[in-house]
């Protein structure tokens, strides 16, 4: 065959070559490097052309494949939505060495969209690759090399596994049910291992599950699915039908939503559920390929409809894995693995029992901000359902219990009806009322009582209403202590109370947590992850004591927690991340910066992969962690990485954390950026902060003034924009709310005066300085440097205005009062003296202001 002509190359590139041509072209390409180069050039062209079409028209198309240094003999083996996979050989000596022992044959995946991926996307990709390549599991094929191709596409290299895709493997063999469940369980175990290490696959499907000739399954492509530009690819999948339906069949509903939380461990569970369904029935659970909105509405079939003999427990497992709402699914592969193990050992599975609790929790946490009475009813009713389910399992006298609980909730519903509580009732009111009713009517069922009180306390605690959480938690604790065999519940209650106290800096936190720790060690053994978590919480308590804080002891506790969690295979990755974060802060304080950085990095990875909020303190910790990590990166000069980390923090803060708190966090970040002279980021963060304030409170609170000010400072420093004006308005807004004049308002007056002076509005500036001084005079004693500073400010302003008499009088008082100036006030003396000298005063009367 002669060299390929332009037409052949083009047709090959778009996959439109006639079958007669395809084989010949492929064979020729395998032997002719000139044509391979030509093909590459065409690919570059196709890439650019698609982009041009996007720029002049409505569509954007992916494309593009480059040469990869260090590897040769690339042969295309697969082309999919995310990229193209080649089989290749690593260059032995000339090329760049692979990171680990080079395999003789590798698979190289080149990701589409990489070239246009933003710095943030690239950061995420590289980090995910880093995390994914840390997985060491016999059934997981990890990345051994990765990087950017010569034209900027992301690629990664894995060992090439010679085998069949899972679906083909199962289809071509006559496996009994046990072997199929066993094969699936092996896959689930490997995913559970990954989830434990904080890695989510996000694109599980038979094409990524290869079974070799010995029947050993391997999971491919870990950490790649979030690569490049996920949203874009997702959108493309939806628009380019047909080709990508194979992937769509395995994706969970939440993965199609343009907004909302990204895919997390529960999405992997969903994909596993689809695979399992197919292994059991031979068909896909979703009737037919659907696109667009239909994807969000589709419902999985009942596996029993396809196989009447399917055991009920397996049906439940499949259905739980395929639940459309991620909150109703197994939270991670770990839980799925446990239920599979229970099934295989003939023990009752947990899926059924847990679902009510999952719903309960999800309902409450979703409404941590006040919500309508109607929604509160739902919550209360759900408590009822949960209790009934729970009690049915616990007690013999099912009927009586159910009736009792039913009566309680009838009572509660009546007590919390809108007529009684008014339309403005909030969930907290409903909960309080419920708590009272429960206490009085459930007195013969201390376990139910304790559970309800605990839930109520927990709800308050998670919505950071710590004071309100104390009472129900204390009640729950008292009940649990009365119940024999409730040691772990008692410990849980103690730990929660301890944390609540710790948040308020109270010394009671320590004994509570110490008791919880002792119980958990006794009941679970020293190495249990929960024991490590308790240690970590105890560390936080020691650190946050208002009086008698002991950071050294805290650090020791963090060290031990991190060590234990690192060695506990079943530990929750989030717990480990929290512990690492606390230890990172401790290391940072000790000046062990390298250690701190490494810990932050690991913690960020651990937080990040679990894409959904936990609605507990660890969410806040995750955002703080991203923030601290960003600061460290910035200090190292890794600005892009730092920004990416911050961007992630913004997104998470808003989505996870509630608007009000997000506003605070973002404002803080905005200020940090300003201090770094990074105005653009500061501006964006300031805007986000303001938007959060407004969404949270409307324009009714001083919060927007603070956000406005943060934004204004950024704009002002960026010089091109009306920052000064915004700051005046921010001050105006604050003043509306701080009527009588606080220290804070006085501080604002001073900075605003500087702004006014900058606008040549000297009279207004001076008026504000006087007002600030009046406030300070009211708030502080004669010798207080804060007050004297206000006096110097005014003195300088008067001098500027040419009124030397008053300027000197004010400055002299300051100098006299600071006769034996403490070092921190020497600056004030200098400023005062400068005013006096500048005015070259005659013998004037010295006197106080006012």
């Amino acid at each position: 065959m002669d060299h390929l002509d332009a037409g052949q190359l083009e047709r090959y590139l778009v996959g439109q070559e006639p079958a007669s041509e395809a084989r010949a072209v492929r064979e020729h390409l395998a032997t002719c490097s000139a044509c391979r180069h030509a093909l590459e050039a065409r690919r570059h062209d196709a890439d650019l052309f698609a982009e041009l079409r996007g720029a002049v028209g409505p569509h954007e198309l992916p494309g593009g494949i480059p040469a990869i240094e260090g590897y040769e003999d690339l042969v295309e083996v697969h082309r999919g939505g995310q990229g193209v996979v080649y089989r290749a050989s690593p260059l032995g000596t000339n090329g760049r060495p692979a990171k680990s022992a080079p395999a003789s044959v590798v698979a190289i995946k080149v990701l589409l969209g990489g070239r246009f991926a933003s710095a943030r996307d690239r950061f995420r990709f590289e980090r995910e690759i880093e995390v994914a390549s840390s997985l060491e599991h016999r059934n997981i094929v990890t990345v051994i090399d990765s990087g950017l191709t010569s034209d900027g596409h992301l690629f990664c290299v894995m060992p090439f596994i010679d085998g069949q895709h899972l679906d083909d493997w199962v289809r071509t063999r006559d496996l009994d049910l046990e072997s199929r469940v066993s094969l699936f369980a092996t896959i689930v175990d490997s995913i559970a291992y990954a989830h434990r290490h904080g890695v989510v696959h996000r694109d599980l499907k038979p094409a990524n599950l290869i079974v070799d000739s010995s029947g050993e399954p391997y999971v491919l492509d870990f950490g790649l699915a979030m690569s490049a530009n996920e949203r874009r690819l997702e959108a493309e999948r939806l628009t380019i039908t047909g080709q990508f339906l194979g992937t769509l069949a395995y994706a969970a509903p939440e993965q199609f939503r343009a907004t909302g939380p990204p895919a997390g461990p529960a999405s992997d569970v969903h994909a596993l559920g689809v695979c399992f369904f197919e292994m059991l029935t031979g068909v896909n659970p979703y009737a037919e390929p659907s696109v667009g909105d239909a994807l969000l509405r589709r419902e999985a079939a009942d596996p029993k409809a396809h196989d009447r003999t399917l055991p009920e427990d397996l049906r439940t497992i499949v259905r739980t894995a395929l639940a459309p709402d991620p909150a109703r699914r197994y939270a991670s592969a770990e839980w799925l693995a446990r239920d599979l193990a229970r099934y295989r050992e003939g023990r009752p599975i947990e899926a059924e029992r847990d679902s009510a609790w999952r719903v309960l929790r999800a309902t409450f946490v979703r409404h941590r901000v006040p919500f309508s009475v109607a929604a509160a009813f739902v919550a209360v009713v759900v408590i009822g359902i949960a209790l009934v389910v729970r009690e049915r399992i616990r007690t013999g006298d099912e009927q009586r219990r159910a009736e009792l609980i039913q009566s309680v909730f009838d009572d509660v519903l009546q007590a919390t009806s809108p007529q009684r509580m008014g339309a403005e009732a909030r969930v907290t009111d409903v909960l309080r009322e419920s708590a009272r009713r429960i206490e009085s009517t459930l007195d013969r069922a201390p376990d139910a009582q304790a559970a309800v009180q605990f839930t109520i306390g927990e709800t308050f605690a998670r919505s950071m209403q710590y004071e309100r959480a104390v009472e129900p938690l204390t009640l729950a604790l008292a009940r649990y202590r009365e119940i024999d065999g409730a040691a772990l519940e008692t410990a849980r209650c103690l730990a929660r109370l301890g944390i609540v106290h710790a948040r308020r800096g109270l010394a009671e936190a320590v004994p509570r947590l110490e008791e919880a720790l002792a119980i958990r060690i006794r009941e679970l053994g020293r190495d249990h992850p929960l024991v490590a978590v308790t240690r970590c919480e105890l560390g936080v308590a020691w650190e946050s004591l208002v009086e008698g804080a002991d950071p050294v002891r805290a650090t020791r506790l963090y060290e031990s927690a991190v060590r234990a969690l690192e060695n506990a295979p079943s530990a929750d990755p989030r717990s480990l991340a929290v512990a690492r974060f606390h230890l990172a802060q401790a290391r940072s304080r000790e000046g062990r910066r390298e250690d701190a950085l490494a810990l932050y990095r690991e913690a960020v990875a651990g937080f990040d992969v679990v894409g959904e909020p936990r609605h507990d303190e660890s969410d806040i910790t995750a955002i703080e962690c991203l923030d601290h990590y960003a600061s460290y990166l910035r200090e190292l000069g890794r600005r892009e990485d730092a920004d990416a980390s911050l961007g992630r923090a913004v997104a998470l803060a808003r989505r996870w954390f509630g608007l009000a708190a997000a506003s605070d966090v973002l404002r803080r970040l905005a200020r940090a950026h300003l201090a770094e002279d990074d105005f653009a980021s500061s501006e964006i963060l300031g805007r986000h902060a303001l938007a959060c304030s407004l969404d949270a409170w409307g324009a009714r609170r001083p919060h927007d003034a603070e956000s406005l000010d943060a934004l204004a400072r950024a704009l002002e420093r960026a010089a091109e924009v009306p920052g000064l004006d915004l700051r005046l308005r921010a001050f105006g807004r604050l003043r509306e709310f701080e009527g009588s004049g606080s220290y804070e308002l006085a501080g604002w007056m001073k900075t605003t005066a500087v702004v006014l002076a900058g606008l040549d509005r000297d009279d207004d500036a001076e008026a504000l300085l006087r007002e600030a001084l009046t406030i300070h005079c009211r708030l502080y004693g004669d010798d207080c440097p804060i007050r004297l500073e206000a006096q110097v400010d005014l003195a300088e302003a008067r001098h500027q205005a040419g009124d030397c008499d008053e300027a000197v009088a004010l400055a002299r008082t300051v100098r006299e009062r600071l006769g034996d100036a403490p070092p921190e006030a020497s600056d004030l003396v200098t400023r005062a003296e400068r005013v006096i000298e500048a005015c070259d005063p005659g013998p004037g009367a010295a006197g106080g202001p006012q």
Binding site: F49, R687, D704
Partner: protein, 187 residues
């Protein structure tokens, strides 16, 4: 870098190259206009913003240190443009301290960075196509336009009266010219 390959921004900075300035204007005027529109300004306001920003750029370009680090000019221009847009939004609403206006300040639609990134790339690509069209000349440009309209190759052949290979070659030539232009723009 040789003189002939000198980038557009490099030439513009010298301030004495009127051809460069007109090319500069041809790229950035529509880019800034589309950006302003993308951030919710009406036509007349967007035109005003475009002119204001270009004026600032012309005035300050000589002092702007273009240090070849990609993206610096982009960030600089963004800062100028987005600031003016906030200003324009404010003026339009005057100083009514209602939440609606604060909201606008808080979140100029849809998102500053996304609009900017999109318009930045697309604006340069559009300008590059224009350059490439001019350089490629009649038939190549015609073929390329038809392809951009997503006409199948067979149809392009029939319309222009060439064979498929010639179509592919014409496309490759224009794309090469687009690449050259993008390099020159340093975008």
């Amino acid at each position: 870098m040789t003189t002939t390959r000198k980038t557009l921004l490099g030439r513009v900075r010298d301030h004495d190259d009127s051809a460069a300035w007109s090319e500069f204007h041809a790229i950035y005027a529509p880019l800034l206009y589309r950006y302003a529109r993308g951030r919710g300004l009406a036509e007349s306001d967007a035109e005003e913003i475009r002119d204001q920003v270009l004026e600032v750029v012309v005035r300050r370009m000589p002092e702007f240190e273009y240090d070849r680090k990609r993206g610096r000019f982009k960030a600089w221009l963004y800062r100028i443009a987005s600031g003016r847009i906030v200003d324009a939004h404010r003026r339009r609403r005057e100083l009514r301290a209602d939440s609606g206006e604060l909201r606008e300040i808080a979140d100029p639609a849809p998102r500053p960075d996304e609009v900017w990134e999109r318009e930045w790339r697309a604006g340069h690509l559009r300008a590059a196509i224009e350059c490439a069209r001019r350089r490629a000349g009649g038939r190549d440009a015609e073929i390329f336009d038809l392809l951009l309209q997503e006409r199948p190759v067979s149809e392009v052949c029939a319309l222009v009266g060439v064979n498929a290979n010639q179509v592919y070659k014409a496309k490759a030539r224009v794309l090469r010219a687009v690449r050259d232009a993008m390099l020159r723009f340093d975008a």
